[in-house]
Amino acid sequence: MNRNNIFIHIALAIVLILVAAFAGQLSRWRKQWKSQMRIVPVEEKKKAMTVEDISLSETQSFGAPEILVKFKNGISQDAIDRLTAQRHDRVEDRFENAEGWDAIDDLDNADAATLVKEYQQLPEVEYAEPNYEINLDEATAGPLVPILPHDPQFNDQWALANSGQRGGTKGADISATTAWAKTTGSDEVVVAVLDTGVDYNHEDLTENMWRRPEKMEPYYDKELGTIDDEFGFNAIDTTADPMDDNGHGTHCAGIIGAEGENDLGIAGVNWKVQIMPLKFMNASGSGSTKDAIEAINYVIERKKAGVNVRIISASWGSTQKSRALGDVIRKAYENDILFVAAAGNSTVDNDRTPHYPSSYDSPNVISVAALDRNDALASFSNWGVKSVAIAAPGVDILSTWLDNQYEEKSGTSMATPVVSGVAALVLAEHPHMTVDELKKKLLTSVDPVAALKGKTVTAGRINATKALAD
């Protein structure tokens, strides 16, 4: 080897070393950039979260699965692999405890909404939904494995998991199954169902009924005297027995908290919760303003006595405005109690024709419209771009009925306890949240729904998974 060749080889070696070093630095920069892309934008997005951009809070980080897909029975993993590969996607994970569910990662990083739509149209797919990112801590963030309860009639509960059953639209639901990956409720949270009473002996409710704690004194009212409120309160005859003689209150209670995973009937939005039954409507489903006030007053007094009652669910109303009723609802606000109320079923604009109590201007009131299984505003539902806050499923809702029965019913009556139920789920996870924080959380975590634009304040359907996001 001559002297010139040695110099050429040394120069080549130096160039190769420099190229390798530069490539290594490039790789480190790339990893650093990926990490920043994963955390920073999501946090910034959360801080600046508005109703309009809530839908963008689904996981969009590089490498994380964008959507969760449940394939129909009989579709082999080979077929799933082929199907995803054809779309330049890949199966990122398969869930052993959630049979049939796969986490799909789109290698082109398409947005989750587009992917959900694409997969929902495939005949092999039963259900697809975005992979919601709940925890912003990078070390623990990951796909939420949907939890499907074994309650035998769960498949008919489209409001909780809409797989397109009976002509519905896949995904037009409150995303309960992924919310349950975080919490299925807490028996520390008490929800007052102000209604026709509740069948507290119903097989699917009895375990989740409120009972006055042994150490708590019976209810005392200066005018009514002492009432041994072991199960709740009946404002019609001012007794201790809130047994339902209509069915409406029992239906609403089941939506909020029919016991989950008990191999009976249905699952409530909360599998565990305490339902405080209050009766102020009679066997026909009607009641007076005076009795409604009496029952709300009972709730406030029980709160003051130490019962953790944080929500009143009010699936009733009229066009009559009562200043006294408005005042007692505001009193509930001062005691940190949310008041969720039905918008009404008269197909009218509540901005023009108010419906009470949902139209009271109290900070704790959430007025609820009803949606059908295709995300259309229910044909009967009232609306109001200024006065109706949010919408929830309210058509053909299966829930508990008298005599251990289960029935499908429709109305903003049914949409209201869906919202009350999600509020209870949020409180199970964040027990110290104030009523203002809770209301804000519910209203800023909706799924935008085209049919609600110009119809409700949020123009969206309540979403339990997003409401539980930190």
């Binding site: 209604d195 066997a283 489903g285 007076s288 699936s315 009404g344 019913k409 109305g411």
Partner: protein
């Protein structure tokens, strides 16, 4: 006890006769049709009456007396006069 359609029509006819101070035989039944009402007061709430906001299946009973039309609403739990001289009544 649940009210049947026939009983509901009979109750409505008697109530109208009483309000108009005429014989029940002078009240004509024009039609009775199944209907979905917007709430549990059958869309015929009295003043100061709150009702469950659940769609309620029942019957719309159209009667005629003294040359005028009158509407009653009923379900298995109740019968109501709808806007009789501008007001609703639960009978």
């Amino acid at each position: 006890m649940a009210i049947s359609k026939d009983i509901a029509v009979e109750n409505a006819r008697n109530d109208l006769a009483s309000r108009l101070k005429i014989n029940a035989s002078d009240v004509t039944e024009k039609s009775v049709e199944d209907a979905d009402f917007p709430d549990m007061a059958l869309g015929a709430a009295e003043d100061d009456e709150m009702s469950g906001q659940m769609i309620t299946r029942g019957w719309r009973i159209n009667l005629e007396a003294q040359g005028q039309a009158f509407e009653y609403r009923a379900d298995k739990n109740q019968v109501r006069a709808y806007k009789f001289k501008g007001k609703n009544y639960r009978i």
